[in-house]
Symmetry: C2
Subunit: 325 residues, 2 copies
Amino acid sequence: MAEFVSKSLGEFELIARLTARLRRRTGTILGPGDDCAILRPARGRELITIDSMVEGVHFRLDWGAPESLGARSLTVNLSDIAAMGGRPTACVVNLAIRPGLDARFFDRLYAGLERAAGAAGVDIVGGNVTRAEALSITIALLGEARGGVLMRSAARPGDHIYVTGTLGDAALGWRALDGQVKVRGAARRFLIDRYLNPAARVAAGMRLARIRPVPAAIDISDGLWQDLGHMLERSGVGAEIDAAAIPLSPAYRAAAGGDLKLALGGGEDYELLFALRHEKSEAHLTKQLGVPVSGIGRIVRGRGARLRDGGAPALAGWDQLKERR
Amino acid sequence: MAEFVSKSLGEFELIARLTARLRRRTGTILGPGDDCAILRPARGRELITIDSMVEGVHFRLDWGAPESLGARSLTVNLSDIAAMGGRPTACVVNLAIRPGLDARFFDRLYAGLERAAGAAGVDIVGGNVTRAEALSITIALLGEARGGVLMRSAARPGDHIYVTGTLGDAALGWRALDGQVKVRGAARRFLIDRYLNPAARVAAGMRLARIRPVPAAIDISDGLWQDLGHMLERSGVGAEIDAAAIPLSPAYRAAAGGDLKLALGGGEDYELLFALRHEKSEAHLTKQLGVPVSGIGRIVRGRGARLRDGGAPALAGWDQLKERR
């Protein structure tokens, strides 16, 4: 343990690499290099979230480029800010490094992280590097919400349920990489790209937060069914979902046909699920939010979600779905 | 990888345990349970820091109680806020868990974390749980600074250098646990306690930030010599340190005699190192800051630190010290 407790020069170099790439937004008074970063107070309410990606659990290095990994580490956090309708502002990064990764790898990882941060208007204001057995990237992200804040708890019976984008692509993507799913050509490339390079719906979340009454929302990180379950639980309501309305990409259909299992339970979509008091057409919402939007069902009194399959209530509730996975 | 991507029920239980223990301070609008926590904006300037403790790198489970580990995970972050003169306010916790640890272990870990947070006035506003090969606890901590902010870069030639507490105790403590250092009785217990249960100098830091001109400061986490080096580098100055003035505890002397190696380079002290423009007596500062304070030298023009040993300049500069370890 002795050699671990004091930081080696190599680790200091990594910290310097990580933190030298600050893009200074107006809110950052002091970036990396001191004991803390100094920021101006949030305008409106402040949001904070933390998420972590661990090698062998959330990613494999042989599956994608280091740049994608860097970007995705931030995207999973951006998605949480998006789900509250906030504007992301600044983050701190904890990097756990393991032997066998060289400076070139970290340069590429940081390049991806920096690009994602720049695109989202986020300053990387601080970092910490530690050694570990496996590579992991943990990011705490701050944001601010000036108007409405989208909460899981705001769904009410009668609300109309929508999702952005298409579901299940990322889950199929990593299964394609893992050899569990056979799919070729453009469909394979699309699905893998959806897994490696997800987009957080930040702009859509901010636009959603302007609707009144303020919608309920959550991001779909663990799969539609599970995350819908969180919203229902927090709101004390139930839901009926129309199986035929679940948005599937052509690539999903090419790989999985009409099997909804991964669209409902696959995870890593980073799309938004939201509930509106007043019904709006998909076309209207797609234009308003700047992303494709699909209406998939209604909030009802009661508990849990039911999947309606061609009019007849299906049995695929929360527990049933869990067992199928 | 399949079974890792979706969270198991066990993980949800852990998240619930972790986040149910929120102590709500006035600044927390929404605690755990949504995509983000919602906070009121910081009063004054906002501080943020992130730090991580990894099993086998920063701690061993057989060396101390889970409660100590939980508290210490926060203390290392509190120390960063203390070093800026800030008031800690809220934190988010990322817990990477491994097989072989039971609910009782996590209950005790959280109890320690919660106690430390409560004592420091910090709300645990959010958490994330992931699986990993080794246990690790990563905390991002927010704080606010209403008056002066202590920075590493503020040291000027002629400044008087001080430290709080005694140095090297924690480094001796873990070496005693590891069998590298032989020490018995009360001295052994004291040194091990200093390693397992360090205190962050938060109140002292806040009081220090009221002094004008605002002092330079850094917390001693990597060892006096290394952290002094950071302050000197950021300030563009040098320092002369009086070896005889380095504060050593009776337990340190019992275990290491007059050997300053671990007091200078051992790390994990979490004491404050600071530089004042106007000299003050140790007694005055001890009373003013509420912790023992020792004057250990002066800031000088130039680069790097020199250790003056009994009047004659010693050779134990930065590089020499590194080689000795």
